[in-house]
């Protein structure tokens, strides 16, 4: 009896809350796209509700392809993508679309070898392995880079992502930059025609397959390797230094990479001796000319807040925030959004 009464009370409170929520006029901003930055975006939306309670966000992490499609179709107020939009897609837009970079991440070379020795790789070796030319762990190219490590006479089982993803985009973008052969044979995309290896679905699929397969080598997001305590390699950057992937070395890459005016940048193989070479950003996509002035104003306020305050939350969630120089340029760009 008592519990029944309690239930009724809860129900009443719930109903009242529902009524009051609809009573206060709230603006709903709709967004869709990339899955990689979803954890930090949802954190931003939560925090921003405290800053401006009159705005609510509805973000669907349906993938970058969906994000680009929906912003082109104007069914969302902002899109999100792990790769910059192509010229072809931009040409289809009814207005000018701005790329607003938010955070960055990195791909790491993860592996499974007996004893899990610390390993080093360079561009040639990684490209060779993924092109199927370096087949064994004790290949001279790998042993030359790792004189101390004990490398077995074992086949390298290459593991890559099977689902289309920003992670793959960064990976193939890097390989295309460092290997002309990769560029002509395979190219850069969210999913490609892999010359070799087995495909795992999602970071968890790739990580699982690496962990379960002795002799496996693959790429996963840095956050994922840290959380799963997987060993990952240092990679030689374009300045000739071996760099461990970390938030610092990703920020260093963003600071030294050439960032074009439209922010459709690629920070793979960035110059600078501290830069980790296999990193990439993620973008919010908004129209320069907002159709709905009220919504546009709220969106601009949020974007500014994200660039100024949201960035500070990135590190806690293992995302690399934008370096200050880039942040200033982004803020200037947000100011150019017209209502």
């Amino acid at each position: 009896m008592k519990s029944l009464k309690f239930c009724r009370q809860i129900l009443t409170i719930g109903l009242l809350a529902g009524v009051s929520a609809t009573a206060s006029a709230q603006m709903l901003l709709n967004g869709a796209g990339a899955t990689f930055p979803y954890p930090i975006y949802s954190k931003w939306f939560d925090e921003y509700a405290k800053v401006d309670p009159s705005v609510r966000f509805n973000y669907q992490s349906i993938g970058s392809g969906g994000g680009q499609k929906q912003i082109l179709a104007q069914t969302v107020d902002f899109g999100a993508s792990d790769g910059p939009m192509s010229d072809d897609n931009l040409a289809k837009a009814p207005g000018k679309i701005l790329h607003i970079p938010t955070v960055a991440g990195a791909d790491v070379v993860a592996y499974n070898l007996p004893g899990n020795p610390a390993l080093k790789f360079d561009a040639d070796t990684i490209a060779g392995v993924f092109l199927g030319q370096i087949k064994k762990w004790n290949d001279p190219k790998i042993t030359a880079l790792n004189p101390g490590a004990k490398l077995p006479d074992q086949e390298i089982v290459v593991v890559h992502r099977s689902d289309g993803s920003g992670t793959t985009y960064i990976w193939t973008d890097y390989l295309s930059k460092v290997s002309p052969e990769w560029k002509s044979k395979v190219g850069t995309n969210t999913s490609v025609n892999w010359p070799t290896g087995i495909g795992g679905k999602g970071n968890e699929g790739v990580a699982g397959q690496i962990k379960q397969t002795p002799g496996a080598l693959g790429y996963v997001e840095l956050i994922y390797a840290i959380q799963n305590k997987m060993p990952y390699a240092e990679v030689k950057n374009s300045a000739g230094e071996f760099v461990k992937p970390s938030l610092e070395s990703i920020i260093a890459a963003m600071a030294t990479a050439q960032i074009p005016d439209d922010f459709r940048f690629s920070i793979t193989n960035a110059p600078g001796k501290d830069a980790y070479p296999i990193a990439g950003g993620t973008w919010l996509l908004v129209y320069e000319q907002q159709k709905d002035p009220a919504k546009g104003k709220k969106l601009v306020e949020f974007l500014k807040w994200a660039a100024k305050h949201g960035e500070k939350m990135a590190r806690d969630l293992q995302y690399a925030p934008l370096p200050d120089s880039l942040q200033q340029r982004v803020l200037k760009r947000i100011d150019e959004i017209k209502m």
């Binding site: 089982v157 689902d163 290896g197 087995i198 397959q209 379960q212």
Partner: protein, 342 residues
């Protein structure tokens, strides 16, 4: 819409069959009834007819939508789409052959494993098992059907594949390695593993349906066999299994329908490599998997169109397989009928 539509298809097909058979039965019952003009009966007839038609319309709409969604790709690639093996989103060259092959082969492996197991289980449950054990066993099998496919996939990666790689696969390779099917290096994720995980997933449905069918075999059949001096095995084989052949075949087809569209768990263990290899230890790819994998991040139009066309091909294969099954069923029915006459 079509991503959820495809797995739905098998359900839809079976619903259509049920609804249509209700409608037909209703009509024949009506013919036998003295006063067919009662309003309730008429209303029921129209209602069931409308349901059956709605399902047909739904199927046509799904097919039409897939056709529209892939029209540019169909025009661009033509029959090459079905006959070539390159799947290259960068160069925008798309061929579906390895996916078609992977779908059919993984489903075939699944049937080869699941059908004997399921029918044997069903026969045990209805004919041999002591009464007290039947209900718990049935519940357990039905629980297997309730496991979400992504959980089965994770179990596949972390438990099934390491075990397969360490014990049964090397064993198979040692004794059957001389055949092309079990040759080559063993990585773990492969076509065979995909087939096994599908087998696990279709086992409950084939078992449950088979059990219902065996239960509906009249006791008169068994009693007649025993009266003629048949042993338990003979009675089960001749009087029960043979009698229920048509129904059991239907159960298998229902399982096959599910196998063709199975996505998530298969994707996680099959290795996702679009290639046609004789060895079952090599990774493969299925139609449903490539849609699930690449749909969300497909940014160019022709790429999306090609994925829609993959959906259309899967749709076509499902219908084709069901039609073939209907034909086979009819052949079985007529041969057993002639045998009965003789």
């Amino acid at each position: 819409m079509y991503r959820s539509g495809l797995p739905l298809l098998t359900k839809v097909l079976s619903f259509m069959a049920v609804a249509a058979s209700i409608a037909m039965e209703e009509r024949s019952v009506q013919a036998r009834m003295a006063s067919p003009s009662r309003f309730g009966d008429k209303a029921f007839e129209w209602l069931t007819l409308a349901m059956a038609l709605a399902v047909v319309v739904l199927i046509i709409l799904i097919g039409w939508q897939l056709w529209i969604g892939s029209s540019v790709a169909i025009k661009k690639f033509g029959f090459h789409f079905l006959l070539t093996s390159t799947w290259d989103p960068v160069a925008e060259q798309f061929g579906a052959l390895p996916f078609i092959y992977g779908t059919l082969v993984s489903s075939l492996i699944a049937l080869l494993i699941a059908v004997p197991l399921s029918i044997a289980t069903a026969a045990y449950l209805t004919e041999l098992a002591p009464l007290w054990i039947r209900q718990p066993l049935v519940s357990l099998i039905e629980m297997l059907a309730a496991i979400p496919s992504v959980i089965l996939g994770l179990w596949g990666i972390f438990v099934m594949i390491p075990w397969l790689r360490d014990y049964p696969f090397p064993f198979l390779k040692r004794f059957l390695g001389w055949t092309p099917f079990f040759s080559g290096p063993i990585y773990g994720p492969c076509m065979f593993a995909g087939g096994i995980i599908i087998a696990v997933m279709i086992l409950p449905i084939i078992t449950s349906v088979s059990r219902e069918i065996l239960r509906s075999v009249p006791d008169l059949q068994r009693e007649a066999a025993y009266a003629l001096g048949a042993t338990r095995w003979e009675a089960t084989r001749i009087a029960v299994l043979s009698y229920a052949k048509k129904g059991l075949f239907g159960a298998v087809i229902l399982g096959l329908g599910r196998a063709l569209g199975e996505t998530m768990a298969v994707t996680m263990v099959i290795g996702n490599t679009p290639q046609i290899a004789a060895s079952l230890f090599k990774p493969g790819y299925t139609l449903a998997s490539v849609i699930a994998n690449e749909f969300t991040e497909a940014t160019t139009d022709i790429y999306l169109q090609a994925l829609f066309e993959i959906g259309l091909v899967l749709f076509g294969i499902t219908i084709l397989v069901n039609l073939l099954a209907q034909l086979l069923l009819r052949t079985i029915a007529t041969t057993s009928a002639t045998r009965a006459v003789q």
